[in-house]
Amino acid sequence: MKESCKETRRLLSQYVDGELEFSLAARVEAHLKVCPDCRRELAALKALGQMVKEKDKPPKLADEYWDWHRSQVWKRIKTVRRERQDGPHRQGFFWFRLAAVTGGVAVVLIAAVAGWRLLRVNPQKAKAPKVVDNLAAVLVSEQCDKPPEVLRMPVLPCVSIDDTTTVLLRALVETDSSVSEIKVERSSGIELLDSIAVNNIQKAKFRPGIQKGRLVRCWLTVPQKFRSE
């Protein structure tokens, strides 16, 4: 390659961006006038920029996603605030124990208050996927002596995405090991993947949760990972 071509190529990226000082830009232009190779290179860099600008797009997200997104932000802001307020006295732990002692009643109250506060802060209540669970109705797996277990899970299809994508689901496992409800805890952002994940859970086999030697209805969090093909 000629010396003048080398110099031009070195400056071309800046030239495309219009960030080259005047005297250098003039030199590049003078060279471009006489060199078809460098002109082609310039065209390629311009086309590249156009391509990145216009063709690189994030996945299309459902409208519900944005309501959910905002509600997640509030949820996370509050969690941290609560942890900070609790400080060294671990007030939260006290409440947790009180709730455990007084059983269902306290849980219902806390859930109601949390639900009310969430509603109050968010002008628009988040639609599906739901964030607040009805804790009073059933246990969550962490509260179980023996949480439900996945016995068999059909394999998920490989999909044409470029990264591993996870959908986080919550399944309500009944005492007869059927699944009566499935909630999307954390969407993949792609409706199709979410629905495949939900279908997959419907085909799965579970063992119910056990509390004090008795079978109980229990929510189980189940991640569904999609591999890229």
């Binding site: 390629a44 997104h69 905002r70 996370r76 002008p123 994508t165 199709l192």
Partner: protein, 189 residues
């Protein structure tokens, strides 16, 4: 009631947030979540991270709102928080290997759903472009995204990334030659 928020300017909303009005911040999120998500997605290149990092951007903004200086556009300020969050995250991140699901068998009954045409159609070019951008080192990807997609000047990029303008230039130039090679079949020879 809702109308008042929808019609308020960013500055008005921020003043309300500063005086403890959470609805005003919700409105700001409604306005900018999409743009922040797009920015973060172009840097992180997957939904899980983009989801998490865009949420984190607003959480940090909310906590730091007292330090927000009204002489900047709110979006510029948010944008800066998001970029720094992303870069730090991506530099720390190690590639996570896929964990097989318990009890999963090879060749289940769902193979047929994998047809890429059933979902949102992504062209071959878009897939190759995405792969090429994923292959760029984080530093180079950041300058390309900020310059080409966000249309920032070299001095703005230097400011946000806290690197000299000379480094912006050389990284951009390297990023372009790399992409040029990876995507040569779509570009003039």
């Amino acid at each position: 009631m809702k109308e008042t928020y929808r019609k308020a300017s960013d500055v008005e909303l921020i003043r309300r947030v500063k005086s403890g009005d959470t609805r005003a911040f919700d409105e700001l999120m409604r306005r900018y979540a999409g743009s922040i998500y797009r920015l973060v997605y172009s840097l992180a290149r997957n939904h899980m991270d983009a989801d998490d990092l865009s949420q984190e951007t607003f959480i940090r903004a909310y906590r730091a709102i007292g330090r927000y200086d009204e002489q900047y556009r709110f979006y510029t300020w948010l944008h800066r928080i998001a970029v720094n969050l992303c870069i730090n995250h991506l530099k720390r991140k190690r590639r996570v290997r896929l964990v097989p699901l318990p009890g999963s068998e090879i060749g289940g009954e769902w193979q047929d759903i994998a047809d890429p045409k059933s979902g949102a159609e992504v062209s071959e070019l878009q897939r190759d472009l995405d792969r090429a951008l994923c292959k760029l080192p984080v530093d180079q990807r950041a300058v390309i995204v900020l310059r080409v997609k966000e249309e920032m000047s070299y001095s703005e990029i230097s400011d946000v990334l806290k690197i000299p303008v000379g480094t912006v230039m050389s990284r951009l130039s390297r990023a372009r030659s790399r992409l040029r090679r990876l995507l040569k079949e779509y570009l003039p020879v």
